[in-house]
Symmetry: C2
Subunit: 525 residues, 2 copies
């Protein structure tokens, strides 16, 4: 991701809230690619508490479209407004502010065609259950979680990024507020040395600048940054127990700083129902604040411990679910689509690792299994792992990032290849209300998964409505663990078996290798 | 159910809208039991269209509580107001109407203790996932469906009631508008002989009177009447495609007529998403009309074909679900509670029968199986059967009632006995998010079901949090089909097995009979 930095030079007068006449805006080069970040930089008042005192926004206009983008204070008298232009062409802008130095400034820039690899932000697909980039490229979610990776040392962050470069993951769940030992520990200005000695009304710009650098670097790798705004694991610091006004200010600040990054997703909270100080009504309120604060309308969800959030609520773009058992059966997974009527990501399904804790000791096989059940159910799954030398997950990939020790990642890369060879924008469950264990597209593509079962044959029988045309299919046997695709000889010519199903009467069953982790793929010839 | 009929005698003047002075109300005996029906009868205007022209209600007051109850026109100048008193004591009332003959009348009655067998209406239990009667008696739902049973001949209805008297069912799903061949066919006044020749603004009181007689007779058998207001199967008549005003009038009329019956449940529609003329917003609107129209606040839900309604909506008291596959796995069933956060009834799970259609050909074993999976998942299930001489489900129990030919009913009676011996108010899934297949109450009661599997042993291992006390348990092996309960010799003394589970180290497994349809019940000794 290329960030166009567009500096508004200081006016001739000293910056200050009391300054009556606005500085004249001067612009350098004026070119930002579509879905890139066009950043305006202003000098303004530094006295008082600019985080609270100063309001700043700019309205961008192009071809009759108008988008109002809030700005933010970045410390030391510097203000920024970040805008990601959704369309090519000439955009003009005008600032507004309660600080005269920042108000009434104007400018313009040209939005150019997106550069290589820039497919635009991820959106929900038109069918409502999958993801696509703004340019139509499918986004096949293979997520991972490294909660506080972005808060580690630059060296550790570099290690994490190098790991990700070689890994299949295209979404990273990451906390703003630290949950494990970190190098960056203070999102707010310190007022003393105690854990509660911080001022919720004064952000530490360096902390946020550092965090957004990690967002940008993920973007450079084509990885979505699923930024988690709140979590319940900071009781000592109390970031999840701020006053409502402070929560609102924080949400608005995050939205203004990061909403323009096209790889940004919002997760309002991790395990929201474990945050004792907030009710569902509080979370609903913060979503409403976020909807208004983020003109870029990045994807929004929230992740639970026990109490499923109502993902039908209009501000939710997709369901983010913690449930390891739901992805041990494609139909359980598919039911979540019926519930949410939106794309479903099982962002937490228990982790690969060697911990004694049951949430952290999946084998690689078990980790990969969950992805396959989820895929056949028309949903998406997230990975993480907890391997650590001292078996303390805090120091694992899950906690801090770094390197991977598990065995699932190559198999998830293989799975991603299978996804990419599959239907666009994704796989849907096929007649799961009738207990079929099939994902795909009616008539075109069928995927069946056996998990840990090791059958030696499978009856190939596909649900096809009466009157629908009958086709020939080619079949592949997929070893999801050993990463092989073995075509079955010759086509299967379908004929009606009964009122509901079709099969090839000449070869009603397929021989299977009698090993676990097998899938069968049936594609129209 | 005893209906107290309280007649308001005619005034000295001829009834009529133009009548200026209200008739003086005279009352006979004045005693109605708690949760019974206190009915006021008025003579009023018969000219014009009283269904549209005349508004009538009465406000009932007792001990500072005030309840406004709409009345309805019952034809031939007769108006009725039906009130089910929620508390014992003296109740006074005053009528209001735009017809002078009906306005300003007053009266009083004494609400006495409920009679034998009167446990009051069914409500959602305090824990939010089960049902209890108003007096606290648990209601263990074992439903059935006979869509148009109430519209058949008196002889056929008597046969249905006699069948129900011997059957375990305590809830009957029934349509107001016919879906199969019926004796009562015209809920609205006919205006000609064609299928569409009826006036949506004029109800046929005889049709509704007949229908409510069936509601009352179900109540006498202790059976809840789950009355389905709309359905998509009447395209020739078009009852599901009325104008909004007509829909509203109909909902209000049904609420005024039937809301006072304590065994009344509202199902807004069967397969709502197959009603082409209505959107989800239309259904939402009709629920809001119903909430206002029914001061008795009877239970409310809606049943779907494919598109799950959002049962989190505030006017929904419980989820009514059609899904046969969901009750082939207790965890699939339990997920519906996670989504709805309300009691869940799988009102349609495919029917027992011998039809060629896949929705109508379960064996008795398969029908019963679905109830057990649902039970272990903390939910409830509904039965019906489609056996008919000519294999046409229209003429089966499902369509018309009558007698049962299937083999599930005695096993559902046995299941009900198991439910009644179980926890109050019902069984909850236990750690289903951790893939345990257990229903019950932590520490007290555990139920596990094997379905069609026929294991010869089971490892008894119960999830118990660290620090929780350890108990001794007695175990029963339940043959759900042959209806036997076989105690396992001696108690099981629990000790910790690991951080999550407890077991009896001396006897970690239980021998099972190697037959299908077995359950194991574990109760604290």
């Amino acid at each position: 991701m290329t960030v166009s930095r567009r500096t508004m030079l200081k006016g001739g007068l000293a910056a200050g809230a009391a300054m009556a006449a606005p500085a004249v805006a001067r612009e350098g080069t004026a070119r930002t690619e579509r879905w890139g970040v066009h950043e305006l930089v202003f000098d303004g008042p530094a006295q008082g508490n600019p985080f609270v005192d100063v309001e700043l926004a700019a309205t961008f206009e192009s071809s009759g479209r108008s988008i109002r983008v809030p700005g933010f204070y970045d410390g030391e008298g510097v203000y920024r407004i970040r805008f990601s232009p959704p369309e090519e062409g000439r955009w003009t802008w005008r600032s507004e502010s309660n600080a005269a130095a920042l108000a009434g400034q104007t400018g313009a820039f040209d939005c150019t065609a997106p550069g290589p690899g820039n497919h635009g932000p991820v959106r929900v697909s038109d069918d409502g259950f999958h993801f696509v980039h703004a340019d139509g490229t499918p986004f096949r979610q293979i997520g991972t979680t490294a909660y506080s990776w972005a808060l580690q040392s630059d060296a550790k962050c570099a290690e994490t990024l190098a790991t990700l470069k070689r890994a299949p993951f295209n979404k990273m769940r990451m906390l703003v507020f630290p949950n494990v030992q970190s190098v960056a520990t203070d999102p707010f200005a310190r007022t003393g040395t105690g854990p509660r000695d911080w001022d919720p009304a004064r952000f530490d710009p360096a902390y946020f600048r550092r965090f957004e650098d990690r967002i940008v670097r993920l973007g450079e790798l084509g990885i979505e940054a699923d930024v988690i705004l709140f979590h319940p694991y900071d009781k000592a610091r109390g970031y999840s127990a701020m006053a409502r006004t402070d929560d609102e200010r924080y949400v608005r600040y995050a939205a203004a700083r990061w909403g323009a990054y096209r790889n940004l997703w919002w997760s309002m909270a991790n395990e929201y129902d474990a945050v004792e100080s907030k009710t569902v009504a509080d979370w609903d309120h913060l979503f409403q604040v976020l909807v208004v604060a983020d003109p870029h309308q990045r994807l929004r969800s929230i992740h639970q411990l026990h109490l499923y959030y109502d993902h039908r609520k209009p501000w939710i773009t997709h369901a983010s679910i913690q449930n390891g058992a739901a992805v041990l059966d494609d139909i359980r997974a598919a039911l979540h689509r019926d519930f949410a009527q939106k794309p479903v990501i099982f962002d937490e399904v228990v982790y690969e690792g060697n911990s004694a804790a049951r949430w952290a000791n999946l084998s690689g096989e078990e980790m990969v299994e969950r992805f396959w059940w989820g895929l056949v159910g028309g949903t998406y799954v997230g990975h993480s792992e907890t391997y650590a030398a001292d078996r303390n997950p805090d120091f694992s990939w899950l906690g801090q990032g770094g390197s991977l020790q598990g065995s699932s990642a190559p198999r998830l890369a293989f799975l991603k290849r299978i996804m990419e060879e599959g239907p666009v924008p994704g796989i849907d469950p096929i007649q799961h209300l009738w207990n079929y264990h099939l994902g795909g597209r009616d008539g075109d593509y069928y995927l069946h998964y056996f998990g840990s079962a090791a059958p030696t044959e499978w009856r190939l029988s596909l649900p096809v409505k009466k009157g629908e045309p009958l086709y020939c299919y080619r079949v592949d046997i997929i070893d999801t663990w050993n990463m092989t695709v073995t075509p079955v000889e010759g086509p299967f010519a379908m004929a009606r078996r009964d009122d509901y199903d079709v099969h090839d009467p000449a070869r009603p069953t397929i021989a299977l290798p009698g090993k676990p982790w097998i899938a069968v793929r049936v594609r129209r010839a």
